[in-house]
Symmetry: D2
């Protein structure tokens, strides 16, 4: 693959340092450790190594979805990849699925859902705060994932417009208040998955789901432990994200 003018590329230094930039002839990119001339990359192969004026080596890499996802995550209230991945599985999201999401937030979960309902599916994503919707739209546009998303500026507690959807995914402060509406919107056998930081939200949501007759109601959380791997010195990292949120899931009976 050859790098062309106008393309987004990833300038990769190491795990902790990399940038997404657009290649243009004559354009310089400034770092703390010197400057690179992006124009020189035009016509080169992806994977090409270049050096800044101060000698810092970098690689010109193709940008992919995960590069974008990492960057979204850093900007706003975050939902971690580990949770995004499992929520998507537990909601049984697949090509063609119609999924209601609330709230949109920064759009990171939206983007993953949108990826996996292709082709033919749709993510209907509700958000009350206009500025969040704007941020999310920008993120989705950057990722090329707007086609399978319908963004709604609306308080979901006033009603879900869709019917017979395959899944409802909630990442909001009061999910238990939406359980009835989610039940109405779902097809029989459809999945409700909710993500919340506190155990009290979990209690209320599980109770609401049970009393509405949801089947297979489960609550769980994922802890991700990262490792420092080195021959003869391997150990878990000392600092860990000890909590992100709990996941509740169930199925319309």
């Amino acid at each position: 693959m050859t790098i062309e003018e106008g393309q987004e590329i990833l300038l990769y230094v190491n795990e902790k340092k990399s940038w997404i930039v657009i290649v243009e002839s004559g354009k310089k990119f400034h770092t703390h450790k010197g400057i690179v001339d992006l124009g020189e990359l035009i016509g080169k192969e992806y994977g090409t190594e270049l050096k800044t004026t101060l000698g810092l080596p970098m690689k010109a890499m193709p940008v992919d979805y995960l590069d974008h996802l990492e960057r979204v995550s850093r900007k706003t209230q975050i939902i971690y990849p580990k949770d995004i991945a499992l929520i998507t599985l537990l909601a049984n999201v697949r090509p063609g699925s119609r999924v209601v999401e609330c709230g949109t937030g920064s759009g990171s979960l939206t983007s993953y859902l949108a990826t996996h309902v292709q082709p033919g599916g749709m993510v209907y994503t509700y958000e009350m705060r206009e500025e969040f919707q704007r941020i999310a739209r920008k993120n989705l546009e950057r990722m090329g994932l707007t086609k399978n998303v319908e963004m709604k500026l609306k308080d979901i507690s006033e009603g879900i417009d869709e019917r017979e959807v395959d899944a409802v995914v909630l990442d909001m402060a009061t999910p238990w208040q939406v359980v009835d509406l989610a039940h109405n919107a779902l097809r029989t056998g459809g999945r409700l998955v909710s993500f919340s930081p506190t155990i009290n939200q979990v209690e209320k949501t599980v109770e609401a789901m049970r009393s509405k007759g949801f089947l297979a109601v489960k609550a769980l959380e994922l802890l991700m432990r990262t490792y420092k791997v080195k021959a003869n010195e391997t150990r878990p990292d000392m600092i860990m994200v000890g909590h992100t949120g709990y996941i509740v899931s169930g199925r319309k009976g």
Copy 2:
């Protein structure tokens, strides 16, 4: 949705008890708690509740992918949904992706990959043991997921046939021995993800990936904690799956 003759349905009793059965007129299904007449369901709505001759209530639910996945998982050496979901994310699997997998095992990870490369993508899955391949094929057929899978009865260490693939996913005893081959098979920027139960496998795989020049090499594991939720009595479950395996990921530079 109406239940039709010949369809697979899920007979759901509770979280721990449910069966996938085929509806046929005149067919009886026997449980420890009495018998149900499956033929009576023909023409009924999904969600219909029925009772066994001994009074056990059940629901006739549509069968979906997750129902099948749960059942695959119970049969052979297992890769848990939490790991399947995150491996798929870390491998950046998406519509159109071309993914090499080794080994096929029972096909549970294969089935999830195959779902998410649709349409247009392909999972090339290597397996040495014929009986495993046969089990996996049956599982994939049952799930309707054979179209995007190419099953290979071959020792992957003799070579990966594909080139410029987007991802290589390894769930095998000696992943470090395949790192070079994976590097050859991957396109620049493609992802290698490996799953292993022991920390020693992690050490060797990470070392092999680093010395081959893989970027952003990371090792991690997911711990899933399930909860017993009940108003005023909420607590984590006492017994937990404390370990499934470690996930190593990286990217061809």
Copy 3:
């Protein structure tokens, strides 16, 4: 050290199989794998290996406190060593400490507290159920730890008799109802530590402690992960005790 008639010894086969027995001349001990003559051990050194009639090797080991503690733990509702150890530290139990405990249960926590208040300290342990007290007394007698324990057959919610104690340790269903009484019983700077299985108990106890003016109120839990260690095959055990209970601690201001 020489084994003498009438002594308790540990017959050790492996980590999972060992028995505490009393050595008497002429006494036989029967196992699934044959018989040993305990009398033959008299006058032998500790550490002596013997064989059953069917060839199973065993070691005659001195019995210590931990051997007894493991056995107590198996019999009743259990408080795990990891929790016993940290509760004792957080309660700042030391030689001479006067500690109120409720409930006595099987006496396993009592026995650890009693060990570490020696000499001169005292554990005042409250229990309402006579049969529990009887079991606990037997356990403490067996361990030789009755001297520093005063066992009280009493509902603690009717009052704590002691004043100016150094610590109050609670392992009971409704600890929040005892927070006021504990406050009265403690000296300024004394520690209250409570152990409970549910998060709701934690919420109520923490709230009660805060509103009573306890300082440095903290809530935490310990997860213990055990490992299967073998060269090149090291990994955490697959099955884990995922939850025992939460520990709340604070200090009278």
Copy 4:
């Protein structure tokens, strides 16, 4: 209890802010939020609240061992209270125990061992680095715990001087090299407990212990999860210490 001139007290603001100071007439204590006159506390009760010149409220609390332990922990390479507590239990440390420790480090584990071998027991603690020993000695003096400690400025790999000890506790880089020496030093049935940050150290130590014939060899680790407790908003803390070290224990056969 009355505060007297010359006494150490704890000035407590909140969980995160407190100082150990010595009360002297005429002495001022300066904080970011104003000044307090320590002399005014003489003759007052412990628990007295005072205010800085800028209105910050504080409590004058008695200082206890845990206050000192917290402060030791912050200064050097740390062994956490959760590990100190369990190591002490697993080493079966009790009044009268004779314990070999290596290395002394900052003396925080030493101090806990020394507390619990009273009366009549002894901690023989080895340390090669003179400045560490000096720091540890100062810490132990401050805690009043020197009586049951013998500090040795010596490389333990040159030999353990003691015989028939009840426990050997290792917190050093190469514990496996000391397993033979520990075996010689221990009495039959005595306990060896080792604490190490990497899994490779665990592997080597477990192998060395097994080949030396230690019984009941186990490896484990403790994860401590702290909670933010508030009615209706209870959740685990987001940032967690994800790893401190592994504990290996066994018993001389």
